[in-house]
Structure formats: C-alpha cells, structure tokens
Symmetry: C2
Subunit: 270 residues, 2 copies
C-alpha cells in the first residue's frame, strides 16, 4: 500500500496526486449509504441550504459511522498519508460536501493552510488532504482546480484581508488571492483539475492554491475531504477554539487497519 | 471547402461540429486587432460592464470592420454553412463576447431559437451558428456546454416563463429549461463542451440545448458568435423590432469570397 517513489515525487513536485478508482464500486455504495444515514443525525455538524432542508455538508462522520472510521484508517489511504507526512497523524478535519446542482461554493482561490493558521492557530503546514470521490467527478460538476506546484512557494499572503467582515467567521474571500496574484500564478503554474470515477482519491497539499468550479450539472456531487495533521503540530487557537465537529479533538495517532475498511470492522471512537 | 459527408452527418446527428484550428495564428491576430479597434467605436453596439468601462460584448462588427465583413463571407465558413442550411443565407446576428475573468454569463440552459422566435418572430429554426475562438478555449475559461443530439427533439418549451419580469427584455432565465427537464435531457444526451486553440470554429444548431460555464481563469476570453439565417425565413416581429445592431437588416444573400478573408480585401457593406 506504499506509494511508488515516482508517485511520492509527483506529490511533492506538483502538490497533488491522483489515485484513480482506489475504492471499488461496492465500497462507494457502502460509503454513500453511510453518508445518507449520517446526514439524518441531528446536530450542528449537518449544514443545510440557506432556508432549505437539502443537506450541503456533513462534518466529522468518521466519529459516528463505522464505515468512515474505517476509511480514515484504511491502509490504502493512511499508509500513503504517513509516507508523505510522518508516522503519527490524526484527522484534523473531516467533511463531506454535497455540491448542489447548478451551483456550489464560490470559487475564491485560496490556500487551506492560511485559513487554518488564522482560524485555529495551526503552527505549520504539516498536513495532507485527501479528497474521496463519492460520485464521478467531471469537468461539469464542480471539480477542484489546482495550480500545480504552487504549494512550493509557501503562503501567497500572510493574513486575512483588511476588509474582512467578521472576526469570528472566516470567509473564503478574506483569504483569497487577488486577481493580480492569481494571474501571475496561473501564468506560471497553469491550471489542472483531477477528474475520475467515483472511488478515486486525490491527495493534496495544504499549501496548494486551488479553487472550485460551480456544478453545472443537474445532479448533486458528493466529495469527502479529510485532513490529516502531524500530531506534533496541534492547533493553538488564540481565542475560543472552533467547534469539535469542525476541528477534531481526538489527536491520538491513527494506526492502519490490517485490511481495507470493507473487510474489517472498525469501531467508532467514543 | 465543403464538409465531408461524415462531418455533415455529425452536425445533423449531434447538433454541432468542431473545426479545429480552421484559422491560422496570423488570422487570429488580425481578428483580435479588429475587435480592439471596433470596441472603440462609440455606440449602443458596445456593451460595457455594469458601471465600468471594460468591454463585455460588441455587436455587428462585420458591418464596420473589413476583417469581419470578410470572415462572414470566408469560403472556409460560409461554404459549410450553405451546405448545412441552404444557398441563400445572411447574417442575422453577430456578436463578440469577452467573458471577463472570474465571471461571465449566468449558465441558464436554453435553446437559441426559442429566444429568437419570441423576440423577433423568427418563423423556423433555419439557422446555423458559428462560434469563432479568438482565444484558446479550455475547460477553465467558460466553454459553451452542449447536450449532443438535443436539437433533434425540437423546442423543449413553447414560450417564455410565466414569471418573466419584462415584456421588452428577454432574460435567459425566462426561456431556460427547468431543473427537471434538464435532468432528463442530461441523462439522455450527456454533456460535452468543444475546446481548442484560438482559430477553431464550432458550428451549432439553433435548437441545441446549451449552457455556459463561468470563466474561472484570471484572463478574459473572447468568442465570436455569428448566426446565419435562411433568407426565406425573415423575422416578423409583432411590435417594435429589436435594434439593427442586434438583428441585422441587410438580408441580401451572402456570396463566398474567392479565397480566405486574409487574402482578399472585402469592403464593408454600407
């Protein structure tokens, strides 16, 4: 379950690595069913559309659903993450985003690590993100767009925008690149967006500049994003920490399961 | 300059046909320069951004700039259009759209012919559109998205939305497909968007269902769209006709130039 040297080099060079069809169709079905189940658990971790009941995102499902508890420990995923980062990692954030038809997040171009440094006092960019496609991702349903190699230049900006509207809430626009910065970055790095069938997994750097297309299709598109953090790099929030469903408190190092999550049961951590 | 039988069949089957790099780099430069020049001609045919000076679109440049007068008569373009439609065609509408960075038209899914029937009393879908790429078109800078084959099912809806806000102005939302209609159409036809280098030309049907992605890139993207209409199918507006720069009044049949527009001068029709 280790990445080849070439794969690891590609991750470090480009800032992301695509593992196409890492999970099989049956596993995808299992994960979708667990998502539907988890979206019905009442609580602030379920984000609905403004004024609607349609579920837009669910946080921290790995703390409630054994399929996701298993997935974040699956050797096909956790082993590569440890290889790229270090042996002792835990899940810092876990989110499943259902991008609605004809819409989706604004496409502010940003670097994740800046957001986490500001919001949670995360000391260093010692994270690896994984994106797990729960639906096919095409050019039409809102793929993430990366600027390959942009992570190697560190943070483009140091803090949030002076025009930030709220001290509490971190708006993507507060940390986005300016049009001039982005023009220079795109000229130099180009744009690319990993696409592939459901079950594919993309690993990506917390410092890679990325944006998000709207979903032009008439169908929702579900994407899981989990962030692993080095246990030696715990957040140090200055004020009130963000809620537990957003910033996970269980920082014990994860150990890989002996086999894929679909073959071994995994208890949900209490 | 005729299309092959296979190309013509593809157009009729799928509702569009891509002619990659039909124009060469020098011709593209010539057309860009003519656009920049034409965008400085004062008048209502130049559409600027709300409250800004940035040019978003220019209409009817073929009536003022000899390069575009030549292009619409260029045998590489006019001959295929006549082959697909009929011998006697004229330019019904001509528009160059500069899709701004990080934005662009809303992506209402629609059929052109419905708009023209409502706005101009156009009797039948006896048109061929051409899209001329003045910049490279990629998945990131707002390509048009087609539902291949959808034109063969005729108009999805008969009139404008009951909630239309204005009798005068035709909002794309007034003629767009409902989410349910679009889901059925996408399921059946799929989505595709022709991309290619500047100088490519795409021919497409007035009845094909299409939408438009936003431009995620930091650079504007210029696209010329001209619509040829059968001279036996002239508009019959019920009220005041739309302005001449939107709906061209010169309905004399066009004759192909003897050679590409870059090789023979073409006077601007007065």
């Amino acid at each position: 379950m280790r990445l080849t040297q070439q794969q690891a080099a590609e991750y470090h060079e480009r800032g992301f690595l695509m593992l196409e069809s890492l999970l099989d169709a049956q596993e995808v079905e299992t994960l979708r069913a667990a998502f539907e189940r988890d979206a019905k658990v009442p609580g602030p971790q379920v984000v609905t559309e403004d004024g609607g009941t349609e579920v837009r995102a669910v946080y921290s499902s790995h703390q409630r659903q054994q399929e996701y508890a298993g997935l974040v420990r699956d050797p096909r995923i956790l082993a590569p993450v440890r290889q790229l980062l270090c042996d002792d990692v835990y899940v810092y954030q876990f989110k499943i985003n259902a991008k609605p038809p004809f819409g989706g997040d604004k496409w502010a171009w940003h670097q994740d690590f800046l957001a986490w440094r500001i919001a949670d006092g995360l000391p260093a960019p010692r994270q690896v993100n994984i994106g797990v496609f729960l639906d096919d991702v095409t050019e039409f349903n809102g793929p993430v767009i990366f600027l390959p190699g942009s992570h190697r230049r560190g943070l483009v900006r140091e803090g949030r925008s002076a025009s930030a509207r709220s001290e509490q809430h971190l708006d993507p626009d507060d940390i986005s690149l300016s049009p001039g910065q982005l023009a220079e970055y795109v000229d130099r790095h180009g744009m690319t967006s990993p696409k592939g069938p459901a079950g594919s997994v993309v690993l990506f750097s917390p410092e890679i500049v990325h944006g998000s297309s709207p979903n032009m299709s008439p169908f929702a598109r579900r994407l899981l994003i989990a962030t692993y953090n080095d246990t030696a790099n715990l957040p140090r929030p200055e004020g009130e920490p963000r809620p537990e469903y957003v910033v996970c408190r269980d920082t014990a190092p994860l150990r890989p399961l002996a086999a894929p999550f679909s073959q071994v049961p995994c208890a949900v951590a209490s």
